[in-house]
Amino acid sequence: MDRVLNNTELRDEEFLINMGPQHPSTHGVLRLVLKMEGEFIRDLVPHVGYLHRSIEKIAENRTYNQFMPYTDRIDYCASMPSNQAWAVAIEKLAGIEVPEKAEYLRVIMTELNRIASHLIYLGVMSLDLGAVTPFLYTFREREWILDLFEMTCGQRLTYHYIRIGGVSRDIPPEFGKSLKAFVADFRKKLDDYEAILTENPIFLGRTKNVGVLPLDVAKDCGASGPTIRGSNFAWDIRKAEPYSVYPKLNFTIPTGKVGDVWDRYIVRIQEMRQSCNLAEQALDGLPESDVIRAKLPAVLKPPAGEVFSRIEAPRGEMGYYVVSTGDKKPYRVKIRTASYGNLQVLAPISIGWKIGDLVAIFGSLDVILPEVDR
């Protein structure tokens, strides 16, 4: 499936197009080499690594707490789940009990972050299809979520909120009211997005039955999250291997039908509604307590051993494999990100489609490149 394309292999009427790393719809710096026949894609080779920052090597040179800000930068659209995956891994390794209130706060924050991340997906996806306005609308709603985050942890993008053993700070008193107002408003705004996109015949024409992802390909290539749920497969780590307080909360897993671009879109729309419910439920169930962080030594030294954590990030399954030697620094950290698996399905499902469809398919996979390159 992967190899270098070069000019000598080309037949008549075929040509190579180098799409990216600087291209409006490669969402950052993905480079795709396309073999085209007119408008049709005959072959496709993705090249990644333009954002490689060697975070895994950095992790080996930082203490467990010091590495937490770096996890913000793995997936900049959804830093909370990245934080949480790291925290969960170390808590599992060191056997740390997390206070219940912290778990609820984690759920609120990760679900809000899931909405924020899906909003970026929705905006960028519609932008890829040529509709500019939903992009601005989604960013307008995302701002509100970022305001909530900034109110709580002081940052809008690199939150560094979920910590090993808990969370960094309690929510401010006005947070709950603002969250309720946001959720109420956001449900109406979701209807607006759907009015512009969901049943729009142009949108339907661009997305229905385009880029169908068969379930076996998805499983084989390691796709996860909404990408695999779009292929009519109800798989969600929050249900399958529950962590945090998800077992106490009530939500469903939306799935698509055939696995085309539209299914992946509608799964994310419905997930945003579910996340609204989850955030509300978690806020209502928030225990009265002041303890938001387990008592830990200043320099954390987990026992020697290894662990792998796995949580449901907005884009799919995210996890860390951590080897500890009992030192204050991890011996080896392997970061498994959702986009890494999701990007691998791009080539099998977009060959044979047109260049306009490639943009739609790639948009629907919701790949964040820094997550792939790390």
Binding site: Y137, E150, G154, S168, P201, I202
Partner: protein
């Protein structure tokens, strides 16, 4: 027949889309005209790092325990210790390299003496990269107007030399700190 129905439905949905965008046309903008209007930053906002001073005496709270320097994940903080004539530690130099700083807030969290804080200030772009390396005076100047409350109970300090209350009084009783700042080289602890 179903084709005609589909077509009509399609046109209807196109009109629904137009109505939705038209709905937002007369609404007031949600954006701000940045240099003339400004957002009020939340109290917890994590922006430029400053050094806090005692509001009564105007002296730095820092007693150079070096914990922020050790905990900084990007090594943006450099502190050198010095001792005044009362054998109390104070930071002879305190440099924060804002080109490295990732505004994670770890330094504020680990500080036991309410002396370093991330503030809501965010406008610090300069034309020269070297100007982003803030020294002690600049950090102190930035921290002058920052309000803070002594919210943290002092943990046992990593070095048992100074207790926070002593540190505060120590820094309060340091009248010649500006002079020592000018000639700190002789007093540095390696």
């Amino acid at each position: 027949m179903s084709t005609i129905k589909e077509t009509i439905k399609g046109f209807w949905n196109l009109i629904v889309g137009l109505v939705t965008t038209a709905k937002y046309l007369p609404r007031p903008a949600v954006t701000l005209q940045y240099p003339s209007e400004r957002w009020t930053m939340p109290e917890r906002s994590r922006g430029v790092v400053v050094l806090l001073s005692d509001p009564e005496t105007g002296e730095l709270n820092c007693n150079a325990c070096l914990v922020c320097m050790k905990q900084c994940p990007v090594s943006a903080i450099t502190v050198t210790q010095a001792k005044n004539e009362k054998e109390e530690r104070y930071p002879a130099t305190f440099t924060i390299d804002n080109t490295l700083c990732c505004f994670c807030g770890i330094c504020e969290e680990v500080c036991n003496f309410d002396s370093i804080k991330l503030t809501g200030k965010y406008e610090f772009s300069v034309f020269n990269k070297a100007d982003l390396i803030y020294d002690r005076d600049k950090l102190q100047e930035l921290g002058r107007d920052v309000k803070y409350e002594k919210k943290r109970k002092p943990k046992p300090a990593p070095r048992p030399a100074a207790k926070p209350s002593e540190a505060a009084t120590a820094s309060a009783e340091k009248p010649e700190s500006t002079e020592t700042d000018k000639a700190p080289s002789g007093e540095e602890i390696p």
